[in-house]
Amino acid sequence: MAIVTRAILPLKSSEDIVRVRQATRESAIAQGLSLVDQTKLVTAASELARNTLDYGGGGEVEIARLDEPPRKGVRLTFIDQGPGIADVEQALRDGFTTGSGLGLGLGGARRLCNEFVIDTRPGQGTKVTIARWR
């Protein structure tokens, strides 16, 4: 898989979430995603960025533009060193939250993407990788 460009952005504050949305939008446009697909990817990015911040205690996101002829896409990897998730199935269920949110973030983000992989263990942090293809 060819990666055209790769950027890493910090996730330390709620302003960083805005920057991640903007950078994701730019990459989605550059890779030729339709407006609806751009919006889905940016929304998923926003949900996951907030999770990284609120539950992971902050972290970073890697935004990669992928070129795999004939398809093009964007892959986002959210990484934190937080407490991890004990029960991933439960965390993916709509309405489940340990915080004050609506509990739509993780499951919603999965529905909005073509690829969704979560790698987490209690005490080991969380890594969520999503991708959306044109």
Partner: protein
Amino acid sequence: MDKIPILRMGRLLLVTIQVDMHDRLALQLQEDLTDRIVAVRAQGVLLDISSLEVVDSFIGRMISNIAAMARVLDAETVVVGMQPAVAITLVELGLSLEGVRTALNVERGMALLNERLVEEGR
């Protein structure tokens, strides 16, 4: 600090969100708007989100909260101008903004609010 302007039009307030909101700005808007509703005794709120390219669950919750808070203060909220791509994404995300009235644009939203005020004899 940035602020989202709140315009008064007779008995209605118009809020046009034109920036990609960070969380503090969204919370500030809830405070400012409820203060203004009380200060000018507004009976309706038009929330124009036509410039918003993304509504995630946080902003969706803020919209629902604003509508609920306004209702408690005796003002009706209509959300106007949602972009089609945003509507598709919101529903897929699992948010349907239940209890929030919507209209296609400011003009129709205003007509809806005025009709209701007349119906209620206010």
